[in-house]
Amino acid sequence: APAMAQAKVLKMQATWPASLTLFDNFTYFAERVSKLSGGTLKIEAMPAGQVVPAFEVLDATHKKVLDGAHAWAGYWTGKNKTAILFTGGPGGTFGMDYIDVIGWMFHGGGLELYQEFYQKELKLNVVVLPILPAGPQAFGWFKKPIQTIEDMKGMKCRQTGMAGEVWQALGFTVVNMPGGEIIPAAQRGVIDCAEWVGGIEDLKLGFQNVWKYHYSPGVHENVTIGELIINGDVWKDLSPQHQEIIKSAANEAFLVWWSKWQLQNADALTEMQEKHGVHVLLTPPEILLAFIKKWDEIAATESGKNPFFKKVHESQRAYASKVVPYKRFYFPPYSFMANYYFPPKKK
């Protein structure tokens, strides 16, 4: 008990409700910090809205209304579009997968750019760490099967953020609505398709009750990384040991949560098909290709007007140009072994 009395408590808030598996990443991190520090450092992990509305957590952490936040940089593209690149970016950015993008962060100067982005570009007093690998995300749910990019043009889809911008540029009908209204809107026909997360999260939201066509993969968030933001003064006030504990716990949460999540998603995929009669289908490559092309155009335009965007994008390209070809040579394709052991069932 005396140790408890001295414990330093950091109040942090997420951008998601406690019901999402994304929130488990946050509580796992908090638990590890407490254990690693022998109870001398505690993280109070609060769900969205408890102290500030979800999308105000970055400004709130800067102002020290919160000591920290569990968020996703894609929410800050209104401040500066470079933000999307720190999530891994659409298309994984130059074909990088999760470990490549994390490699870029730790060994390719990415994490320094990430700090520079918040501290110099946005002039926010925060420190940032990658923590939440919430992907790859599914292409989405559809009212009817889709074959070509033309099929999608007549449909009204709930899309958000940069992905929504790409779809809009491709001429699609993008509809936005608050998260809680997605399923009722789908149920009642306001929208014909929607992108959410995939796997267990989609099952929790209840898409399987409304639509029966679930497509994957997507390339809009095939690598998408959530962040832990900490107020700069709070960070400086921490002992070096506590700082190291936070860094390690964030990395551990990244790995341990992600592996568990993939298992949960595997179970969810089975449940979708066997219990709810969902058709799980592969996204037509043509659609994904169109998306990547349009994203490249948008990224090139943005690079033209936004020097910092260009700097980060170039840094990612340079790093990717090393590791992506290397991996293609050394890594056996996932599908090769998958097809050998678990050939897709032909019904």
Binding site: Y75, W76, G78, K123, E165, Q168, A169, T173, V174, V175
Partner: protein
């Protein structure tokens, strides 16, 4: 005291009320583009399968501006609810005392602090040219963010008039203006 407030005071209060009346009536017209934006969205989506790119952003911006900027007018009309469990039974003088204290202690300090903070936030949004990220339209956000300090300013202006009225009520026991309950 009898014969009402001094002409100068009376004129001062009336000019503030006049100002809030005029601005309030103008702000109320934001309802019209709000109705328009939403209706156009639904019509163009269902009749022409061509939803607008701007409706969503415009809808929350107009709604947010409407209720924030309308707060001063609502204050003037006595629309901000209070519990009349005991209130109705209080004498005019007692009401005046309670209101004077609550304006001086509760109202002005809170709204003034909110004004300062929201002003800084709006200036920051202007500096980084912040845009909305709720839709692909991405309109600039700083005019919307300036709504908050402006609303605080309008509230404080009307607050002065209300404080003077309450103070007058506390001193003389005479009601300068009767406020009716509004419907909810």
């Amino acid at each position: 005291m009898s014969g009402g407030p001094s002409p100068a005071l009376s004129k001062f209060i009336r000019s503030i009320d006049w100002f809030t009346d005029r601005t309030g009536m103008a702000i109320a017209w934001l309802v019209v583009p709000l109705v328009g934006a939403v209706t156009i969205e639904v019509v163009s989506r269902y009749l022409f399968n061509a939803p607008t790119i701007w409706s969503f952003d415009l809808t929350y911006m107009l709604y947010g501006a409407l209720f924030m900027l309308g707060a001063a007018f609502a204050l003037h009309k006595g629309a901000h609810i209070r519990t009349d469990f005991f209130w109705e039974k209080f004498s005019v003088r007692k009401k005046g005392v309670i209101d004077t204290i609550s304006y001086v202690v509760f109202f002005f300090p809170s709204i003034a602090m909110l004004f300062i903070i929201s002003w800084n936030e709006a200036v920051y949004a202007l500096q980084i040219n912040e845009m909305s990220d709720q839709t692909p339209w991405r309109p600039i956000l700083w005019p919307f963010k300036f709504v908050v300090p402006i609303a605080c300013l309008l509230l404080m202006i009307q607050g002065i008039s209300e404080l003077l009225k309450s103070f007058y009520m506390a001193r003389t026991g005479v009601e300068l203006e009767h406020k009716e309950k509004i419907e909810i």
